[in-house]
Amino acid sequence: MPEMHIRVRLFASYAEAAGADEMTVALPAGATAADCLAAVRAAPWAGRVPPAPALAVNRRYAKGDVVLRDGDEVAVIPPVAGG
């Protein structure tokens, strides 16, 4: 099955925990944003990422069932505190 490469963006306390503000995740074709999240949460630093954080795909909020395409950008959005 062809592999997709997804650019994952991390922010705030998640980026601090990861020691990086982005990572690349390889997923099989047909994978969803939730699959990508599962791959992120499998990382050793990811204990503070909750089971269902807000996600964005290509810079818009998205639900976990969105099917990804090669080269998509997925962001794991920590609780927001703007204003």
Binding site: A12, S13, A54, A81, G83
Partner: protein, 143 residues
């Protein structure tokens, strides 16, 4: 950097001028400022960070939604990023409308949606020298 985020002090007079219109009889300016008191000590500054490439269009969408809801309104918003000292504005919204009720309502809508949806985070720098991430709310959550 686009129109909605800035790394420096916010020019309130410039925003007021941007929403001035002969047909608009009410103008509301909202400033969100960094306050000193926090749960665990005095705050000297807050460091704001953002998912800039998403925050810009998200703020633009929020303002577009307000303009659709309150016809005739003019609305501008600036959010400051980086280190903002106590007492300085981290966010300014200027909203004008033909009548004051709509100006207040549009301003309120924009600040509430910004706090709910903008991918922006803050870290408090305390007088003790410690720094801590401020626990926000789940993005896009309940109003």
């Amino acid at each position: 950097m686009g129109a909605w985020l800035t790394d420096g002090a916010i020019d309130v007079a410039g925003l007021l001028a941007a929403v001035a219109a002969d047909g608009n009889g009410g103008t509301v300016v909202f400033l969100g400022t960094v306050r000193r008191s926090a749960e665990d000590g005095d705050v000297e500054a807050i460091e704001y960070s953002a998912y800039r490439e998403m925050a810009e269009p998200e703020l633009e969408r929020i303002v577009a939604e307000a303009l659709a809801q309150w016809p005739g309104a003019r609305i501008v918003l600036r959010h400051r990023l980086g280190v903002v000292p106590t007492g300085e504005a981290s966010l300014v919204i200027a909203a004008s409308a033909p009548h004051r009720a709509d100006a207040y309502a549009a301003s309120r809508f924009v600040i509430e949606e910004t706090k709910r949806r903008a991918p922006i985070w803050k870290k408090e720098r305390l007088a003790s020298g410690r720094a801590r991430w401020v626990e926000g709310r789940p993005a896009g959550g309940e109003r």
